[in-house]
């Protein structure tokens, strides 16, 4: 967090302190391309992230084709398969989920929900997007460089990541590391914006405890990301040096292909520590914004105040803090002192407490609520179920003795896809259906939305539920082909074929969503300013979509918290945050 005392600016008298100037675009280019308006930047971030996410979806199709029907697509040889795994994982975790939640939703919602005109550092915000785009382009370049993209797995573990015979050893790994370094630089510029805007940009009356949980989630996740991403940065820089100039930060003395390499005495475990010091908080960097958004979706669409708001805030902060002391649970199989294993298993299980509090509070918010089964609500409900399912298998894997045999099986793949793949993606869809009317002024088509939800939700379960059983049978992950293993029954191949077919269908269903996004832009039902009759400030803008500066001439003033739904005695079943108290009842 920030350690600047509030009286730091005391020597400046208020008379000579200039207000923050709002940036004004002068041409089409500065308005829509090199824009400094957080709303435009948010849309740029979101479209880029969704586009690269679709690429990663295609990669997962190819992987599934190989697993379900080995040999069907001849061009997927073992090297290509590793490249598909690596790029799919890296894109989904960092370039889609992180970028979309923080860069996309963070940019759009923080200023609007807090009653600010824009982010506090608009120029850095613009740079943040363009560096992100550059990082994405460098990443994509990996497909086209000689030798292809890196096939080191998304964890990029040395020594194999930079040894000959790992796919993409010549260029792919360099391109990947450079892209990650760029991403982190770009993210830091954006992240500083989100944090300082929450600290300083709030409208009059918007205390921290009146902020919608969406903002709390994004804020906590951003603070975590700012502190955790440097670990990946350090790891990437050191590995790049190992690869390019032959230092031995991570590379031990090693014989490869019968030849003694010049590396001496580096520590691969050191990389694992650095990677997971980033990697575990990353799970929550993706999860906390999802937690926040889902709280708001449930409250709005069940027409009920969120249950236990304070507890929800404390739980977010507690999860954020705890997630920094669990990283080594990803390293049980790397070997460690048993008491370390005990420590990390304990901290891992303790995180279940604040997380369970959140789940109970969501359920209690729904309890006897006026539940509207709108598309955003369906996705929010789908998230709760999926997150609980994925979380429960996390309890298995958090324990050392259970993790060791299950590690490196498809069980782990099923677990993390449930908890940090499907669950946050469901929230992203729900959030897009929820806020699309504010961004474009038109509703997304309801029938297509429901079709999209049911195929995605049921399909995700048909894919990942059986995968747990495949893992329990001992089928290893990362294997190009598993046909000749004595302990794997023949029926596994049938199940794998089934999973692949469902995966193809679920992937195709996302095209319905993409079509809906494009079609509704011009032909969707006009939404009006506040179609969900929600309380938070972004729905109270004078114009929809909000104009530059968001609020017209005067900034909103906040009189109440974000969850005044179904207040007894009120004329409407919601009271916007900027609605003054009724003088007769006050």
């Amino acid at each position: 967090m920030v350690d600047v005392p509030s009286d730091a600016a005391a020597p400046l008298s208020t008379a000579e302190v200039e207000d923050v100037e709002l940036y004004h675009p002068r041409s089409w280019i500065t308005k829509y391309v090199f824009s400094q308006d957080a709303k435009i930047i948010a849309i740029q971030y979101s479209l880029t992230a969704l586009a690269i996410g679709l690429v990663a979806l295609v990669l997962s199709w190819l992987m599934r084709l190989q697993l379900g029907f080995p040999g069907l697509v001849s061009f997927i040889d073992p090297e290509r398969y590793y490249q598909l795994i690596t790029m799919h994982g890296m894109i989904m975790v960092i370039y889609l989920l992180t970028a979309l939640f923080l860069g996309g939703f963070g940019n759009y919602l923080i200023p609007l929900m807090l009653g600010a005109r824009d982010m506090v550092f608009p120029y850095a915000n613009m740079l943040s997007y363009w560096i992100y785009l550059l990082a994405v382009l460098v990443l994509v370049a990996g497909f086209f460089v000689p030798g292809g993209a890196t096939g080191a797995g998304w964890t990029l573990y040395p020594p194999q990541a930079i040894l000959a015979n790992t796919p993409g050893q010549s260029w792919g790994i360099i391109v990947m590391l450079v892209s990650l370094i760029l991403f982190i630089i770009g993210f830091t510029m954006g992240g500083l914006n989100y944090v300082v805007t929450v600290l300083q940009g709030r409208a009059k009356g918007m205390t921290l405890m009146r902020m919608p949980l969406t903002v709390w989630g994004i804020f906590t996740a951003t603070v975590m990301a700012l502190l955790a991403f440097p670990a990946l940065f350090v790891g990437a820089v050191m590995m790049l040096l190992d690869r390019l100039i032959g230092t031995s930060f991570f590379m031990p003395a090693i014989v490869a292909l019968g030849e003694q390499l010049s590396y001496r005495g580096g520590s691969p475990i050191l990389f694992q520590h650095l990677f997971w010091f980033f990697g575990h908080p990353e799970v929550y960097i993706v999860a906390l914004p999802a937690f926040g958004i889902v709280s708001d979706l449930i409250s709005t669409h069940a027409r009920k105040n969120i249950f236990g708001y304070r507890m929800m805030v404390w739980a977010l902060v507690a999860i954020g803090a705890l997630s920094f002391v669990v990283w080594a649970h990803h390293m049980y199989v790397s070997g460690m002192h048993p008491s370390f294993g005990f420590f990390f298993a304990t901290t891992t299980l303790i995180i279940a407490i604040p997380t369970a509090i959140k789940v109970y509070n969501w359920v209690l918010t729904l309890w006897r609520g006026d539940i509207h089964f709108t598309v955003p609500m369906l996705f929010a409900l789908g998230f709760i179920v999926t997150f609980v399912n994925g979380g429960l298998t996390g309890l298995f894997l958090g324990n050392v003795v259970v993790d060791v045999p299950l590690s490196d099986t498809m069980f782990v793949v099923a677990h993390f896809h449930m908890v940090m793949g499907v669950a946050p993606i469901l929230v992203i869809f729900g959030a897009i259906y929820h806020w699309y009317p504010k961004v474009t002024g038109r509703m997304l088509d309801d029938a297509l939305g429901k079709l999209h939800f049911w195929v995605t939700f049921l399909g995700a379960y048909l894919i990942f539920f059986p995968m747990h059983y495949i893992g329990l049978m001992g089928v290893p992950r990362r294997y190009h082909e598993i046909s000749d293993m004595a302990f794997v029954p023949a029926s596994t191949a049938t199940l794998n074929g089934f999973i692949t077919i469902v995966a193809l269908i679920v992937g195709a269903a996302q095209l319905v969503f993409v079509f809906n996004l494009a079609w509704s832009l011009k032909r969707g039902r006009p939404a009006g300013g506040n179609p969900w009759r929600a309380t938070t400030l972004e729905w109270q803008t004078p114009e929809t979509p909000p104009a530059h500066g968001n609020w017209g001439k005067t900034l909103p003033v906040v009189y109440r918290w974000a969850y005044d739904y179904s207040v007894p005695g009120a004329a409407e079943d919601f009271l916007p945050q900027n609605q003054p108290p009724d003088p007769r009842t006050a």
Binding site: A8, V17, K204, L241
Partner: protein, 235 residues
Amino acid sequence: MIVIVLFMVLMAMLAGWWLSHQRLAAKPWLEVGIIDEARDSRPRSPQIAKIGLGAFLAVAGSLFALLISAYSMRMSMADWRALPMPIGLWFNTGLLMLASVALHSAVIAARCDEPGNLRSALLAAGVCSLAFLVGQVLAWRELAAAGYFSAANPASAFFYLVTAIHGLHMLGGLVVLGRTTVRSFAAPQVSGALRLSVELCAIYWHFLLLVWLVLFSLLMRWTDDLIEMCRGLLS
């Protein structure tokens, strides 16, 4: 990883201290009306810039804490051979301290509205910082000449890495300091914006000095006992 964990504990304490002032126990569902009447809700640039810099320093602090963590983990391995530290590093440390002192006096000059003193203090800080960077490069060359510029020696790889990253941070700061100095020569009086720039530069330089002192004591192996002690506590 003990260093980064300690750094995170420090951050958590700061966050906890800050959060404890934010009425986290309030019951917002019972409170209607404007609560923070006294707070001026207009965003003010000095406050924002300082908090922004503070947040950036937290990120940079995390970066250096991680580097130090990696360094100390590597040091504890059996094959670690320490480097002989060039004597010039002492001189460089002195230069960096002078730069920090000069910037501190620049802040005082800016607050007392003395443009002449401000200009000379800023120039002195810039010259000392440049001399520091030159000194670091000389130290690099000295080690290289003694045959330590070898990628296979982990101590030398770490030495070059940490000094390079620290130097890059200083170069970034010098760009801002240079612009501030140019502005101080262009303006007849010390404006609020200029004073803010000077204050931000000073905070940044004090931070870089602090980081360098930690790195220096690590490179000089004064902290070996401390690291050994921490390790003893853990195991």
